[in-house]
Every structure is written in C-alpha cells, then in structure tokens.
Subunit: 332 residues, 2 copies
Amino acid sequence: MEKIRVMIVGYGNVGRGVVESIKRNPDMVLAGIVSRSPERVKKTVTDVPVLPVNEPDVWMKELRPDVAILCGGSKDDLPKQGPEFARYVNTVDSFDNHSRIPEYFHAMDEAAQKAGHTAVISTGWDPGIFSLQRAIAGAFIPGAHAYGFYGLGPKGGLSMGHSDALRTIPGVKDARQFTHAIPEAIDKIRNGENPVFEPGDMHTRECFVVLEEGADKEAITKTILEMPGYFAPYKTTVNFISQEELDAKYKGFPHDGIVLAAGVTGNGNTALSEYRCQWGSNPEATANVLVAHARAVVRLAREGKSGAFTILDIPASYFSLMTKEELLAHCM
Amino acid sequence: MEKIRVMIVGYGNVGRGVVESIKRNPDMVLAGIVSRSPERVKKTVTDVPVLPVNEPDVWMKELRPDVAILCGGSKDDLPKQGPEFARYVNTVDSFDNHSRIPEYFHAMDEAAQKAGHTAVISTGWDPGIFSLQRAIAGAFIPGAHAYGFYGLGPKGGLSMGHSDALRTIPGVKDARQFTHAIPEAIDKIRNGENPVFEPGDMHTRECFVVLEEGADKEAITKTILEMPGYFAPYKTTVNFISQEELDAKYKGFPHDGIVLAAGVTGNGNTALSEYRCQWGSNPEATANVLVAHARAVVRLAREGKSGAFTILDIPASYFSLMTKEELLAHCM
C-alpha cells in the first residue's frame, strides 16, 4: 500500500509536532512543508522540500500531497487559509474558536464540495477528542450535560491564547498564562447536580508576566484584570517575574483537561462518565490527533466523499492503523 | 418524523433497562416485547404487546419493529438468536464474550447481509464505549496500549458472570461477586511503564456466598479458589454470609471501570488518556447504550447499509438526538 503523502502548512509548534508524529505512523510520509517564510524553515529542516505557501502550482506538482495539515492559527490564518487550501487538496485543521465553528464548517464545506475535496475541521483534543466525548456522553446518558475543565494538575495548563493576549499589552516583554480548574465545581458535577456555571465558576487564571524596563506594574495589572472575555470574568492572579524565572520554571506546553457528564438511569441510579487527558506537550498532542485525522480524511476521499467533516462524522476505525480484523480482536 | 419502533427481545435486567431508557429518548417508541415466557412478562408489562419469541410472523406483523434490541445472554442466547433475528429485522445486541467477538461478527454480518438488514453487535459499556476508547487512545497516542480496569470504587463492581459461576456450585444457595481493581497496577500505567500484566495482576475478586443448609464450607471454598478462568488466576477472598446480609448489603448492580492509555509524543513528552465511568446500575447503563445504537442502526439502514457493524464503524453523530447544526454549536 502506498504511503499517505502529508504536506504541512505552517511550521510552528504544531507543525513541528506533526513532523515528529508522522515518524510514528508507518503508513505516512512527510511530503514537504509550505510556509510563509520558507528560508527560515529551511535553516532547521533539510530532509524534505520547503516551499512558499503562496505557490500552489509549485507545491501541488512537487509535493503531490494526499492531504494538507493546516497548522496555522484560528484567529488570522485558518478562516482565509482553510477554504483556499480546500480548493487544491484534502485538508485537516485544528480551528478552535468554538463559537465560530458552525460558520467555519459551512465555509469549508462549500469550498471542499465545490472542488471535490475532503476537509476535516476543528480537531485536536479540544475541539476534537473532547467534542467526541461530549457527544457520546450526551447520547449514552440521556439528559446528561457535558462539562469541560482544564488545568487539573498542580501546575495547571498553559493557555496559548491567553499567553498571547498578555503579550499584546504594551510594557509586557513576555508572559505565560496557566489555567486552573476549580475542584469544587468538578465535585458538583460528580455529585450529579448538573449545575449552571458562569465561566468564572469553573476556572481561575494565573499569569506570569515579565515587564519591559520601566513598565507600569499597576497599570498593566489593571489592564489584565479588566480584559473582556480573557480575564475579566475570572478570578485572576498576576505575578511579575524575571525572564530567567519564566524560562526556568514555566517552560514547555503542558496541558490537561477533563470532560464530565452525569445523569440518571432507570429509577434514580446514578451514571457518571469522565474523560481525562494529560499532555506533556499540548501542540504535540494536537499534532498527533491531526495526523490520525489525516489518515481518516484520505480514507473518506478514497471512498469518494467530499465536503467538510468533524470528528463526530467519522467512525473511530478510520483513525486507526489497525485492520478491521485487528480492531475486532484487540479493541472490541 | 415518525418515531423509531423498538422491539425488546428478552425481558431480564437489560430488557427492563431498555423500557426505561426509551422513555427518555423522545424519537423512539416501544413497539412491544418478545419473550420465551410471554405469560410471565405480561404479569408486569401491560401497556405494550408481549408476544412469544418463536413466532416471527406474528411479531413482525403486529409490532412492525424498525429495530430489535436483543437482551439475551452471550453464552447461550445470542450466538443462535442473533443470526436468526437478523433475518427478520435490524438488530442491536451486547454480545460480550470478547474472545469470540470476531466469530460472532462474521456470523451476524453474513446473516444480516443476506437479508439486507443492519446489525450492530457487542455494544454497551464494555464492549462498547470501552472499545471506542481503546481504539481512539491507540490511534491518537501512537504506540500507546490501552488497559481496562473494573471496580475502582470502595465496594468494587458486581460481576454478573462470576456471580452466576458461584451459583452453579452445589451447596451454594446464592452468591454475588465483586471485582476490585489493584490500584498499584493503575499507577504503573499512569507512570508510563506500559507494563505486561497477567489477569491476576490487575484485579482481585471478592465473593459473598450464602450456603445451603449443611453445605461443606471448606470444599466450596476450594472449588471457588480453583475454578479455572473465573477465580484460579486471581487473588480471591470468600465470605460466607446470610441471605439477609447479602440482600441488605450487596443488592443492586453497581459497576464502574476505566480505560487508560499512556505514551509519548515528540521528544519524551508524556501523553495519558483515561476514560472512567461509574454506573449505579450496570444493566441500565448497557440498556442506554443499546438504545442509542438502535437510533444509529436505523439511520444506517435508511442509508441502505446492511451487514454487521460495531461502535468502531459508526460516527458519533449517529448516536445523538442532536441535529447536525446542534452538534456543531453545542458539542464541538
């Protein structure tokens, strides 16, 4: 069987994770990388072609990708890049702006259908695995509502989006934001209360900020605490530390989370399901899930299916390296 | 939209759970029950038709089922009943003899394909939800091996099969068996050791036995501890108690379990996923999963798909009451 030729679009943390993940998936081969800054990428990547992102005729011909894994950001890159790429090739992406997923789905569906390609959108661990867990919890425990929490461990989970938001503040040189789940909120769900939460009831936010020389601590603290959406709804703590301390103590991209759902079966018997994951590297976790979906998207395309799909539209067997008989014998 | 007409085959604990579950699934209606002892069932069920199982012409005509949920046992009922029913109607079952699932799948596939029907086999929480979790853990964490444990809570989980095995011993009047996970074994997986376990390394077995008048305690204890497959490989404790104590302290069908998988992403970053469920009533949990699969089987049949399927072959959206747009907005 010929290997699946994967093209990576965008060489940041997730793109680098995809390179590593492909090495562990023997049915795939990295066909090449396309980037807005191919010269920069070529400094570290020498074993596969690196081409400019804006030359589709060149990369389609030279790389012959079966699927493109779009590793750009959800805010600025994917809304434009996704539908463009779906014109040329089957795609997988991790668009994670939850409230805009329906809109993005329809844009991708239209572009992919028109071109006869297949696009899996919004996958990774959340959205992605967590979406799957929310859907099955709701289906298998009638009446249950699924809740998601992040940062259950002592260090919490690094939020890339909130760290980026901190770094946009004038006077902030560097920053990282760790999210912490509120344990009492999780207990309420385990007790079967099916509570109604405001965002601030579920998580707290811990900021580690390195200041530019001469920056105004108080003004920056106020800006952070009042930032709508990002910090205003939450109990937030702001710690000013040195660059050395930030680099030493708060490096890496650890993250973790849980999806919980509780309900009742029959005559008052409790039913509780929990999916918990812990990742030493959040972008590498996302990368692994993207790669498994690249396998699925190629299978869907080979069946002649086109348009946009989410993890909820794809049978689990499509993600697996195992054959049908192996799945029956080892997973069932 | 016309409601899905569900027929229950076999009115034991799971069958009763299906009756309750259908009430919580507004797209379904209980068309009727077929049983080997319809007169017995009619004593408690008066609101739907109850018909003899061996008269397919009668129940097909009177009940007009879209799907039959087969609630018989995996040892004696399903291997024969499954392929027979697949000739008449779409089916869902919880065949749970793991080592014989491939064989049962092929028997059901042949029967269902020949008749142009759709059959979902071996679903519930294990096999079923756990199978799904094993498959996605393996696909999303390359190289990870998935482990299943049961009975993590203080009381452990009631094993129906092992309780039945105890009750076959002469001199045993009644008995219940609780399975306990060995916490140290779970810790090894969480530590990323990917250990190789013998069955006895993962669980212990606790038996509560009521003796017949004049039965030989020592002989029965020996018979239990040496029972191959069921108890011999495990650290097993046997407690002789009165019927009153058994009924008071060890009633109901609680069960719980966990699927864990650990691996590594990129350059030594840990990855750990855990799915945990806790059920006040094991048969009702199974029943709820069966009912969600009844929805899926009818959708597959309406698409013209025939043959046997497992949970690994079905997109999660097929189990859900939500529309495509609701899933995009609320689950993704």
